[in-house]
């Protein structure tokens, strides 16, 4: 692709429309620039240099399409990503969660699960994990499988440990995993209260009521219209005074739902659903 010119705008739109029509996956409301980049990347790796040809192949080959979908979602993540966010959850959210007899949490767009385990560790340390249930969802089945296994490359362990400490972790991080060969496996007890399940924010509905929803670095890939739709979904899925945690550069600022939330931590993007709408 690097040697040819850019995608034709209409051909790209036709590709997304036909994918939506044939498979029900709706990418038309995704931010186009990074989606285009991922499509380009997919084409280079499969040695395809023509959008129309890509569209035709996707349409007739379901397995090829499955590979394509996996590569359309960004799965980059880490344990205690943005440690200050988790520190703020500890400082501002945990106490309120503790007032519920049973705590329901949704981690939407959990990718390979590192942030889910981070949350489980945090809840464990605050004495809340045993009465919590975390629903961890993602559109990408392959990522979900990795998340379920909870086995990660040892290469990132140093970063994980450092982030854990910065996030206010007081124990030795090594208590939470077993290292074997080149991998670390997180303790099974952390998994007991996590339910991993596929969910597509672009098309699927609410499935429960939660006291906390965490959705970080997912909305940046959506256009405003789809962001608004997802904020509506989160609003419906939160109990009164329920919390919403977003990514570092994500905000309710441009959304229709802005006035229905209070800002709990402006910098770390933690919001609370208001009880009544004035």
């Amino acid at each position: 692709m690097m040697d040819s010119i850019d995608f034709d705008k209409k051909e790209f739109k036709d590709l997304l429309d036909s994918i939506h029509f044939i498979y029900g996956y709706d990418f038309t409301d995704y931010s186009e620039a990074s989606l285009r980049r991922r499509v380009e990347h997919f084409m280079i790796s499969r040695k395809i240099d023509d959008l129309t040809f890509l569209g035709r192949t996707l349409a007739k080959d379901e397995r090829f399409f499955a590979e394509f979908v996996l590569e359309m979602s960004v799965t980059v993540t880490t344990m205690f990503r943005d440690p200050a966010f988790y520190k703020s959850i500890r400082d501002h959210v945990v106490q309120r969660l503790a007032t519920y007899p049973f705590i329901k949490i949704w981690v939407a767009g959990c990718a390979t699960g590192q942030e889910v385990y981070s949350l489980a560790i945090l809840l464990e340390e605050e004495g809340l994990l045993s009465r919590s249930i975390i629903y961890a969802t993602d559109i990408n089945q392959k990522s979900l499988q990795i998340a379920k296994e909870g086995v990660y490359s040892i290469d990132n362990l140093k970063e994980y440990t450092l982030n854990y400490q910065k996030a206010g972790g007081a124990k030795s991080f090594s208590e939470y995993y077993k290292a074997k060969y080149n991998h670390v496996m997180f303790d099974k007890s952390l998994k007991q209260n996590i339910v991993f399940s596929p969910h597509n924010l672009a098309v699927d509905q609410s499935f429960n009521e939660f006291q906390l929803i965490i959705c970080r670095n997912v909305l940046i890939y959506f256009k405003q219209s789809l962001q608004n739709k997802v904020f509506d979904l989160f609003y419906e899925s939160l109990c009164p005074f329920g919390f919403l945690g977003l990514g570092n550069k994500e905000s309710l600022l441009f959304s229709d739902k802005k006035k229905h939330f209070d800002e709990i931590d402006k910098k770390e993007k933690i919001f609370m659903k208001k009880k009544h709408i004035s």
Binding site: M2, I5, D6, F7, K9, S31, E32, A33, S34, R36, R37, R38, V74, V76, N217, I220, Y221, Q224, G247, N248, K249, E250, S251, F254
Partner: protein
Amino acid sequence: MNKNWKYGAVVIGVSAGGLNAVSFILKKLPVDYKFPIIIIQHRNTEQRDLLEVILQEKSKMKLKQADEKEKIKGGIVYIAPPDYHLLIENDHTFSLSSDVRVKFSRPSIDVLFESASYVYKEKLVGIILTGANSDGSDGTIRISKNGGVTVAQNPDEAEFPFMPQAAISTGYVKHVFSLAEIQKYLLKINQE
């Protein structure tokens, strides 16, 4: 963006040694500079907005970290946030991505340049300054192929010559300029 203007935006990629180079270029640009200036500076992820504070002191133009969905306006210097790729959408708004690093970099110059080139085509000026890796060279090729203007800092005067040299080596750089010449060039296109 005014349709009659020759250019729509200036994108700058800079890595090691960037603070001095960027300050030098910005300090002469007037507060009402016509075009938006969008900068990728490879940076530490810990300091979330220190760079903006430092650079604002050197710049007459308003300077800010680029926000997701923000409308791009002339007269403003935008800096990519740490640890996110910065991209430009067809409607001249920013979008962000935390996708894998490109050439060990996030934000990556290539990612910005390629998406900016898609939108602005021949109305884009892309500048590569001092740096110690080859990020930006693929983006430079793309800008040039789409008819935009490509500039690299003269490696002889760059604090770290590797990055501008890598861009020049692609054969797609139109002007090799000193910092003073880049400054002059940016003032000149503001008058056109």
